[in-house]
C-alpha cells in the first residue's frame, strides 16, 4: 500500500510538470491550431538557464548558501525570461511566415526548430550532463515508507501555483480574454479590434514562461540538465494536452495529472522501462477513441 502512495505522489509531481508544459501546447494550439513541436525545448532551455544561473551564483558568490530563496527566485525568473524570448523569436522567424501555408509547413518548421535547439545545446554542453549545484535544502518528511522531500513539495506546489496563475491570467485579464477570443474565432476577434498578431505572441509567451519556469525547478529536482531532457516530456505533455482536450486549459491540467499518475502507477504493473510506452499507448488510444479529449468538444470537419 505504501508503495502505491509513493507512486501516486511521484506521479502527481511529474504530472504537475506535464500539466504546466501541456498548458503551453494548449495555448498555442488554441490560437494557431498548430502544435508547437519545439515547446519541449523551451522547457529544456529553462532548465539550462536555471543551471547557468545557479552555477554562476555558486562560483562567484556564496548566495546559494546564505540566501537560497533569492538565488532560486532569480533562477526561475531568468528561466522564464529566456524561454519567453526564445518563444517570441521562434514565433516570428519560424511560424509567422507560415501562417497560411499548408499544414505540413509550420509543422516541419517546428520540428526544425526543435532539432536546432536540442543540438545547439548538445554542442554547447559537449554532450555532458550539467549537474546543478546543491541549493535546495535536503531532507523532507517520512511517513513510514513514503518519503516526501522538500524539493518535491516545492515542485508540486509550484506547479499548482503556475496553473492557478495561468488560470487567473486567462480568465481575468484583458490579454487572457484576447487569447480566448482569438482561440474561438480569429477573424471575428480581429473585427472586434483585437490585435491578433500580438495576441498570438502573448499566447506563446505565456506558455513559454510556464515551461521555462517549470524547467528550472524540474532541473533542480533531477539535479541535472541535458540537451534532450525536453524531448520526451514534451511528447508526454502533448499527450496530456490531447487527453484533456487540446485547446482546453482545464483539460491540459487534468490530462497532465492523469498522465503523470497513470504512468507512475503503471510502473508497478509492467515495469519501469516501459513507462514511456504508457504515454504513447494512451495517446493512440485517446486519439482513436476520443480525439477531443476529456474537456474538448467535437470539432466539425470542414471540407
Amino acid at each position: 500500500m505504501q508503495e502505491w502512495i509513493q507512486l501516486f505522489i511521484d506521479g502527481a509531481t511529474i504530472g504537475g510538470v506535464y500539466a504546466v508544459i501541456a498548458l503551453g501546447y494548449t495555448l498555442v494550439y488554441g490560437v494557431l491550431r498548430m502544435i508547437n513541436f519545439a515547446h519541449g525545448e523551451l522547457f529544456m532551455m529553462g532548465a539550462f538557464t536555471g543551471y547557468y544561473t545557479l552555477n554562476g551564483f555558486e562560483q562567484h558568490s556564496n548566495l546559494n548558501d546564505s540566501a537560497p530563496e533569492l538565488t532560486i527566485a532569480v533562477a526561475i525568473l531568468l528561466g522564464m525570461a529566456v524561454a519567453v524570448v526564445l518563444a517570441v523569436i521562434m514565433e516570428r522567424v519560424a511560424y509567422r511566415p507560415l501562417r497560411r501555408a499548408p499544414r505540413l509547413a509550420p509543422l516541419i518548421s517546428a520540428i526544425g526548430v526543435s532539432i536546432f535547439l536540442r543540438n545547439v545545446m548538445l554542442r554547447v554542453t559537449d554532450a555532458q550532463a550539467q549537474v546543478y549545484p546543491r541549493v535546495f535544502p535536503r531532507g523532507g518528511f517520512e511517513f513510514g515508507d513514503v518519503s516526501l522531500t522538500y524539493i518535491r513539495i516545492f515542485l508540486l506546489s509550484l506547479s499548482v501555483a503556475f496553473l492557478v496563475l495561468l488560470y487567473v491570467f486567462i480568465q481575468r485579464t484583458k490579454a487572457g480574454m484576447a487569447i480566448r477570443a482569438v482561440a474561438e474565432d480569429r477573424d471575428t476577434a480581429a473585427l472586434m479590434g483585437i490585435n491578433v498578431d500580438r495576441t498570438i505572441v502573448s499566447a506563446f509567451a505565456a506558455g513559454a514562461a510556464l515551461a521555462g519556469a517549470s524547467g528550472v525547478v524540474y532541473g533542480m529536482f533531477v539535479t541535472n540538465a541535458t540537451s534532450d531532457m525536453g524531448f520526451i516530456p514534451g511528447i508526454k505533455a502533448f499527450t496530456a494536452a490531447v487527453l484533456g482536450g487540446i485547446g482546453s486549459v482545464p483539460g491540459a491540467v487534468a490530462g497532465g495529472y492523469f498522465l503523470g499518475i497513470s504512468e507512475s502507477l503503471s510502473t508497478k504493473v509492467i515495469g519501469a522501462q516501459y513507462k514511456d510506452v504508457v504515454a504513447f499507448v494512451l495517446l493512440v488510444g485517446a486519439l482513436t477513441l476520443r480525439p477531443w479529449g476529456i474537456f474538448g468538444k467535437r470539432e466539425d470537419k470542414r471540407a
Binding site: A101, P102, F116, N119, V284
Partner: protein, 416 residues
Amino acid sequence: MRAVRAWRDGLRRRHAGPAWAPAAIEYGRYVGLPLLAVLAVLAPEYLNAQRAFAVILVATYVVLRSSAGLLGTVVLAAMLTLLPYYMDTFERGLIFNVALYSLLGIGLNVVVGYAGLLDLGYVAFFATGSYLYALLAAPGYGGGFDTGISFWIVLLWAGLLAGLVGVALGVPVLRLRGDYLAIVTLGFGEIIRIMLNNEDASGLIGRHVSDHGITNGPVGIFSIPHPSFLDYELRGPVELYFVVLAGCFLAAFAAGRILDSRVGRAWEAIREDEDVAASVGVNTTLYKLLAFAIGASIGGIGGVVFAAEQTAVFPKNFDVNVSINVLAVVIIGGMGNMRGVILGAMLLIGLPEVLRDFSVDVGFIHLDNLGADYRLVIYGAALVTVMVLRPEGLLPSRRRAAEFQQAALIESELAT
C-alpha cells in the same frame, strides 16, 4: 537591365514571399553551380573528396534537372555505377550511406510526398528489416537464430513483413490528420526502439529465448554474415552499394509507375483534401494503408541491406534521428519527387561527411568539425529555412510546387 528586371518580376509573380529567395536559387542554378564545377576541376588543391563530391553533385544536379527522361536516367545510372571506382575507402562508405538514405527517402517519399501523411516514425520499418535479417542470419553466439536463409530471400520477406508492420501502424492512425499523425508515428518509432532495447521483450511475449531475450537488448546482434551472389561474397560497402543502387532504381521506378496509376491519383486527391476525396468515392482507408505499406516495405528492404553492411545491429542505430534524417532528405530535397530525394540525400548525408573537418572562423565564432558535430544544428536550421523560403523543397515536382505557391498566392490575394 530591363531583362534583369523582367526576370525578377517573373520570379515575383511565380513565387510568393521575398523575391530574393527564388532569385538566389536561380542564381545558384545558373551561375553558382557551374562556377563551382569549373573551380573544382581547375583548382586541384581542393581535397580529393570535396572535389569529387562537388563535381558529382553538379553533374548529377544538371542531369536530374534536365527533362530528358530516359536518356537522363541512363546517363545517371552509368555515372552512379562507375562512381565507386574513382573513390577511396572513405568515399565508398560515404556513397553507400548516401545511396541507403536515398532508398529510405524514396520509401518515405511515398508516404509523405505522395500520400501527404507525415510519418515521423519511419525508423520502425527500417528496424524491422534490419532485425529480421539479423535474427535470421546471425549465428547463436551473435544473438541470432543461425538459419541459413539467403540474403535475397530475406529481402523479400523483409519487404513483406515491413509492409505488414506498416499496415499495422497505419490502422490506428487512419483518422488522424497532420500534427497528431506526426506525433503518434513519432511515438511508434520510439516504442519500437524501446522494445528492441529491452531485454525483457521476450518476457512480454511469453517466450524465453536466451538470457537477453529475443532481441538481445542493447547488446545488439552481431556477426551477421555477408550475403553472397552466385558464389561471390558481397562484402564491404561497394558491393552492397550496388545492391542499394539497384534497389533505388527499382523502387523509384515502381513508385513512379504507381504514382501514374489510379493509386497515385487517389493519393493526390487524399493529399489535397481528404474529406472531399472521401466524398467523391475514393477509398481513403485503402489508399492510405497502401501508402504506408509500400513506404514501409522499402524501408524494410533498406534495413536488410543496412544490417548486411554493418554486420551488427544495435538498438542505438534506430533512434529518432534516423527518422528525422530521412524526413529532412525528403522535405529539403523536394517532396513528391524522386530526383529531389536523391539530391536531398547527397546534400544532407554526403555533404556533412565531406565537410566533416570543415572549420569556420568568423570573428569570435570559432567552430570546428562542422560536418561531424554541427550537422544536426544545421539540419534544424535548414528545415526551418526551407519551409519559410521554399517549402516545396529544392527539386520539387511541379505539382507540389504549384500546391505550395498556390497557398501563398491565395494569402497574398487575401491580404490586398
